[in-house]
Amino acid sequence: MSIPTQSQYCTFYVADHLFGVGVSEIQEVIRYQDVTHVPLAAHSVEGLINLRGQIVTAIDLRRQLALPERSDDSLPLNVVVRTEDGPVSLLVDEIGDVVDIDESTWEATPPTVGGRIGDLVQGVYKLQNELLLVLATDRAVDVGASAGI
């Protein structure tokens, strides 16, 4: 996997993992919105939200990453990413910072990281205190592959 060319990452937490998406791929971060559930949709599709008149699909990253479900009392936040198909919202637990990264700290995902995380993470930046998992947004918004999980 090639080294991402981004130097600034927007970070967020999903089930205590720190993920990052290049800032240029992020449209905006907004608080929890009312979601309209879509019956018959893939499991990781949480539903549709109204983003200032535009209808945007919200994908639950926990389900998409096959991580344990969020507890009922915490509301997720929307990280709206730009895709070829228009904006898609990723539901995350908590928003982190925008971090500048040092490209020399890049490393490919270790082969022992399997499952959905292994599929959706492009690589890892070794930050000072923790690891930043760089999310491949194109795969993160693709629910076709995860429909069966």
Partner: protein, 809 residues
């Protein structure tokens, strides 16, 4: 830089104008074929080509100029009536129009008119224009006569309907002459003489010639010229502007957003005490509605824009397949949204081609069938309840349902058993199956097996519905019902399991509400499939919550088991939304029916797009997203459509709209332990019970003495070939039928009921004594042919097959 821009703009305008002109040309040519001397049309065609030629020369498109120049030469002779329009010439000119169109396309795409070789086309045009010219020269005077005479004699008419078409210099001359004659300043003969002089080579204008000859003052000519300008004055062009479609699309989107915002504001202010705010909101509401209507109107185009190319299509096709076709168009002014016009263009063209290629017969076949040699193809469009209906009918051979069935079976699309059960109408609808073609031979026009299914899919894509009606030997009609616009549609809001869904009104037939007790008694089940009797028809029911696999809000103790539909009605009334999908109607059970609302269909992301039950989503008044139900998709998902194709005949027909025209009360008889038979009540004279021991025998037939004559007996169990359960009993149930003075006693095991419902009779493989099979009172029932039975047991007299036919009809 700016010069380039200017040039690009000039070329752009040239392309738009030329394109519009060309579209009108096809129509003009076809009209000219009917009336080759129509001076108005000829002048119009000439002018269009002339201006393209002029502009192409100016802009340096040499190929284009060459072709248009030759065409113009040919046309000028036609216009001057030195040459008469023949189909041959029309074909060549149409080819030239095609060539011009292609070159315009090249210019649009690459900026150059392309290097296609048109020399042959030019040569054939030249050949056509040269050939008669030789002949024309030898008898020039007699030929020129007709070209000039009408100018004078019809001067009044032509001037009267002058609508700014008299632009070219040549026409100008004529018009001046006309105006002078009309004003009484010049005599027709003088104008004619001046025109003749012009034709003979005088380069000057008519006015000049006339003044020089002393026929009138120069002031008269000036006045006439001024009048001419006035007449040509304010044309349509001055009151219209060209607008980029993209701009209108953008306006439409904005209006859509405004409508949604308006809906939200309305909802917020509904409970506000501030009367000024409420008033302002009402104004906003009205203005938005008007704005929406106005913007939508800008996108409306008459369907004639699409139809206008059909005369040409029909002409070319009918020539190539050797058929004669008359095209009728009605309602060409019916307006539709531009996107929909674009979307129906191809399906309509396909239907028109189909109708000519395999709908209409060849002239010989038509003559043999006693039909007019010219086939008729008619297009009809009209508004109906917020939708547009388009009908394409031909008076051809109709659809051979047997052939279609055979084709469908051999292509493996349906089984022979299924085919046998299909009604005429359902068989016709088989042509919508993918991979089926009715043409025995594949032609270059149609018959490759990609067709009707694609047409239907395309119509459905824009929210339309399509159906077919065909009568063998009489013709075929395709009916298409499409929404006026795609952008903003009225929809019904329903809820199920606490979620709102929207159902487009186009699919809505009616709303039915059954109170708890009614629901209990009216909703029945056929092997787990709930149905409701609605005005004597069985309507299959689908629970929206089941199809969407969402848990019910008010879950009763049991889970989603089979008894659900029966459990629910006990608790609350049942709301049924009756929907139309294809030819079938079905009832959708929802929790609540709320309201209707104008909604803007918004696309959904690719994560959700592939769910067939949803057509899109919209934003509701409260700002939340709601899903729009795709009724076709839902019907397929829930098996309503697929089932009906596979189901047995009886069930299919209780669900289809098509039913036997007459509802005839039927007497239902029980035969054996399971079988049922029915006799039209009108054929029943009396019901009798005979003791077994009074049966006597004559000539191998069982008879009884009845009312002073001998009544032959026929056993239904023998006719149906089922074991009778009455062999042991002592009393026989007998239906007495009398026709033409002779009676028969039809012996059955029990009299079940008299049923008065519309039935759909299916023909059966010829079983003597049985007219057909139908579902009566929820059971498969053989309908008896009483006259045949009477004949088979009659004791004397000639066979009366005639009377049978009379009764049966």
């Amino acid at each position: 830089m700016t010069q380039d821009d200017d040039l690009a703009e000039v070329i752009g305008e040239f392309l738009v104008e030329s394109g519009e002109g060309l579209d009108a040309l096809d129509q003009a040519f076809v009209e000219l074929e009917h009336d080759p001397t129509d001076a108005g049309n000829l002048a119009f065609v000439f002018r269009t080509i002339h201006s393209i030629k002029g502009a192409s020369g100016f802009l340096g498109f040499q190929n284009l100029e060459k072709v248009t120049h030759s065409a113009e030469n040919l046309l000028s002779q036609l216009r001057d009536a030195t040459l008469l329009l023949t189909p041959e010439i029309t074909t060549v000119l149409l080819l030239a129009v095609d060539a011009v169109r292609q070159m315009l396309l090249n210019i649009e795409q690459s900026g150059a008119d392309g290097d296609a070789d048109h020399s042959e086309l030019i040569r054939s045009m030249e050949a056509l224009s040269h050939r008669p010219e030789v002949g024309a020269e030898s008898k020039a005077p007699s030929h020129k006569e007709p070209s000039i005479a009408p100018v004078a004699s019809e001067a009044q008419d032509i001037t009267a309907d002058s609508n700014g078409e008299e632009f070219s210099d040549v026409d100008e001359n004529k018009s001046v002459g006309e105006l002078l004659v009309q004003a009484g300043r010049a005599k027709p003969e003088e104008v004619q003489a001046a025109l003749e002089a012009q034709l003979a080579g005088d380069p000057r204008h008519v006015g000049e010639i006339l003044v020089e000859r002393g026929a009138l003052d120069s002031s008269d000519v000036v006045e006439a010229l001024n009048n001419q300008r006035k007449e040509a004055g304010p044309t349509v062009n001055n009151s219209t502007i060209r607008i980029d479609v993209a701009l209108i699309d953008r306006l439409m989107n904005l209006v859509g957003e405004l409508v949604l915002a308006r809906n939200q504001v309305l909802q917020f202010t509904a409970n506000q005490p501030d009367s000024a705010l409420v008033e302002t909101t009402q104004r906003l509401n009205l203005i938005t509605t008007e704005l929406q209507a106005g913007v939508m109107k800008t996108r409306m185009q008459p369907i004639g824009n699409v139809w206008s190319k059909f005369p040409r299509v029909v002409r070319d096709l009918s020539l190539s397949v050797g058929k004669k076709v008359k095209l009728y168009m009605e309602g060409a002014e019916t307006e539709l949204d531009k996107t929909i016009i674009e979307a129906v263009k191809d399906p309509l063209t396909h239907l028109v081609r189909n109708a000519i290629d395999h709908g209409l017969e060849s002239p010989e076949v038509r003559a043999a069938a006693g039909k007019p040699v010219d086939g008729t193809l008619s297009l009809r469009a009209f508004h109906e309840g917020g939708h547009v209906n388009i009908e394409i009918s031909d008076d051809g051979s109709g659809i051979d349902s047997e052939r279609i069935k055979a084709k469908a079976i051999s292509s493996g699309l349906i089984s022979a058993e299924q085919a046998a059960k299909l009604s005429e109408r359902d068989a016709s609808a088989l042509i919508f199956l993918p991979g089926l073609t009715t043409a025995t031979a594949v032609t270059n026009i149609s018959g490759r097996g990609v067709g009707m299914d694609v047409v239907k899919t395309n119509i459905e894509k824009i929210g339309g519905v399509m159906d077919i009606h065909s009568v063998r030997g009489v013709g075929t009609t395709f009916r298409i019902k499409i929404p006026l616009t795609l952008a903003i549609i009225p929809a019904l809001i329903v809820t199920t399991a606490g979620n709102r869904y929207l159902i487009p009104q186009v699919n809505l037939v009616e709303l039915v509400r059954l109170e708890a007790d009614q629901a209990l008694s009216n909703i029945e089940k056929i092997h787990n499939a709930p149905v409701v009797r609605l005005r004597d028809r069985l309507l299959p029911l689908v629970d929206l919550a089941d199809v969407l696999k969402t848990p019910k809000k008010s879950q009763v103790s049991s889970s989603l088991d089979d008894d659900e539909v029966e459990v629910d009605p006990r608790l609350k009334p049942v709301n049924i939304v009756v929907l139309q999908a294809d030819d079938n109607q079905f009832g959708l059970i929802v929790d609540e029916v709320l309201d209707t609302e104008e909604i803007v269909v918004k696309p959904m992301g690719r994560q959700i797009k592939n769910i067939p039950a949803f057509a899109g989503a919209t934003i509701m008044g409260d700002g939340r997203v709601a899903l729009i139900i795709d009724v076709m998709g839902l019907a397929q998902e829930s098996g309503v459509i697929a089932q009906s194709r596979d189901r047995s005949a009886g069930e299919t027909h209780t669900t289809t709209v098509e039913e036997m025209a007459s509802t005839q009360p039927m007497l239902v008889l029980g035969v054996g332990s399971t079988s049922r038979a029915a006799i039209p009540l009108s054929a029943v004279d009396r019901l009798e019970e005979f003791a077994r021991d009074i049966i006597e025998s004559t000539g191998g037939k069982d008879v009884v003495q009845y009312r002073g004559s001998i009544l032959p007996l026929a056993y239904v169990s023998q006719i149906l070939n089922v074991p009778s359960s009455s062999d042991e009993v002592d009393v026989l149930e007998v239906v007495v039928h009398t026709s033409n003075g002779a009676s028969v006693g039809i012996v059955c095991d029990s009299i079940v009921d008299i049923i008065d419902e519309s039935i759909n009779l299916q023909a059966t493989d010829s079983r003597p004594g049985v007219t057909g099979v139908a579902v009566i009172d929820g059971r498969v029932t053989d309908v008896l042919d009483v006259d045949f039975i009477a004949d088979s047991v009659r004791l004397s007299g000639p066979s009366r097959s005639k009377s049978y036919a009379a009764v049966a009809s």
